[in-house]
């Protein structure tokens, strides 16, 4: 039993640095760091609109966002809005209805902001009978 507890404690100590890699500290500023967020959504005959929110608080100095999509069938539109609901980017990928072409359609948007608008950024995903996947990755750099 004692051995098991020792192994558990040792494992916890070893995994702790791995979690910390998400937000590495700047030795001169204990509150600084980088936060990475990754999210994947799989679409299977999906037509329901989804909204992904990313909160940008006042300490955020830079915000980098990448949305990658690939669609085998159907259509997918991605729109990115800042907290004031200004559209910062959009794209669509897909195949036309009743198309005989079987080909993957891929789309990617890369956005970078220094001192981004503070508040909730939203990514609206509008699929139309879509089969495919979406990868959202964001990087926020804190003061």
């Amino acid at each position: 039993m004692k051995t098991k507890i020792a192994v558990l404690i040792l494992t916890l100590f070893m995994t702790a640095p791995t979690f910390a890699q998400d937000k590495p500290k700047d030795p001169s500023n204990p509150d600084s760091g980088v936060l990475n967020l990754e999210r994947q959504i799989i679409l299977k005959d999906h037509s329901k609109e989804e909204t992904i929110s990313i909160n940008i608080d006042k300490e955020v100095q830079a915000f980098i966002l990448r949305v990658q999509t690939q669609v085998m069938e159907g259509k997918l539109t991605v729109e990115i809005y800042d907290p004031n609901q200004n559209k910062e980017g959009a794209f669509s990928v897909g195949t036309q209805l009743n198309s005989s072409i079987e080909e993957l359609a891929k789309g990617q948007i890369n956005l970078e902001f220094f001192d981004p608008q503070k508040g909730t950024w939203t990514i609206r995903i509008k699929p139309e009978k879509a089969y495919g996947d979406i990868n959202i990755s964001s990087l926020t750099n804190y003061n």
Partner: protein, 329 residues
């Protein structure tokens, strides 16, 4: 006699050679691009039926495909395109990627917009490795050079804005909007004008600048293109009444008034009418005695832009100084 025969043969050969050159020169898009080995050696041409399709990718949009040789040269035959000038997109893909891949923003941005028809002779040079279509120049191609100018303005805005704070970004956005509207106002090409308006985000700006957009819609009212119709459909519609007779009376009265005014309208007013919307706004300020700096601040445009407008106004009004303009009442 012999020299005459030689001369005739020379003329015939020269004519044949010219017509042959014209034949092979007609309807093509040739270019040179600098790409590294991570990119595939294929380049694709897609048709964009609306401006919204610029950021849309589907396999059905691709209408042409060709190889990029080891020196970066490629060539598309455009003779199968329609007579009307339309918007197209060139794109390349990374090795192993689907041919229907679009990347917007960042160093791997992979597309370029071009305006073409079946007779277009387009020769371009893309002089940047990342993103490959960042620095594009055209050989004697005013339309695509203007299109590229808009792309450059947007790219510069994005580059500066990504390094600026919120307030500076607003200022940069406003400057970009003014520059795009100035292009829309002054270009002689409808598609360029519509594209500049589209990129300026006119739908959110309509209320602040309704007169400008209405004037623009009027200016291109003879246009039949889908691009223009789409723009027109997004302007708030004037309510229509089923009263043909009233319209006929109004049309007849307008015709009569038009004829009278056409005969007696002062030359000065005709000159004012030749000014663009932005120039008319600046003329109003000049008449009030505003300085370049005041105008620059009022319309949020650069001093150099103001100077350029003032010079154009003086030329169109056929006057030598601002003082003379102030006498135009």
């Amino acid at each position: 006699m012999k020299p005459n025969c030689v001369l005739i043969i020379l003329i015939c050969l020269s004519t044949a050679s010219t017509s042959y050159t014209q034949r092979i020169e007609s309807g093509h898009l040739r270019g040179t691009i600098e790409i590294d080995s991570s990119w595939s050696s294929n380049i694709y041409l897609s048709y964009l039926p609306t401006f919204e399709d610029i950021y849309t990718m589907s396999p059905e949009m691709i209408i042409g495909e060709t190889k990029i040789d080891s020196d970066g040269n490629f060539s598309f035959d455009l003779s199968f395109l329609p007579e009307a000038q339309k918007l197209y997109r060139l794109h390349i893909t990374k090795k192993g990627d689907s041919r229907s891949s679009l990347v917007i923003g960042g160093k791997n941005e992979n597309y370029l917009l071009v305006i073409a028809n079946k007779n277009s002779v387009i020769n371009l040079k893309a002089g940047s490795v990342y993103p490959p279509f960042r620095r594009v120049s055209y050989e004697k191609d005013q339309i695509n050079s203007s299109l590229q100018r808009i792309t450059d303005l947007i790219y510069n805005r994005d580059s500066i804005a990504s390094l600026s704070d919120v307030y500076k970004r607003r200022f940069i956005d406003n400057n970009l909007k003014q520059e795009l509207l100035a292009i829309a106002d002054t270009t002689s090409h409808a598609l360029i004008s519509m594209y500049a308006v589209y990129q300026s985000g006119f739908e959110t700006d309509y209320k602040n600048n309704a007169t400008f957009y209405e004037s623009l819609a009027e200016k291109w009212s003879s246009e039949n293109s889908v691009y223009f119709k789409k723009f027109q459909s997004r302007l708030p519609q004037v309510k229509s009444h089923d009263n043909t007779f009233s319209y006929l009376i109004i049309a007849l009265i307008s015709l009569g008034v038009g004829l009278i005014l056409g005969k007696y309208i002062p030359l000065k007013e005709q000159k004012v009418k030749s000014l663009s919307v932005q120039e008319r706004k600046i003329l109003r300020e000049l008449r009030k005695g505003a300085r370049n700096k005041d105008i620059s601040e009022k319309f949020n445009i650069g001093i150099s832009t103001v100077k350029s407008h003032v010079s154009s106004i003086l030329s169109k009004m056929n006057v030598k100084s601002r003082k003379e303009l102030m006498r135009y009442k």
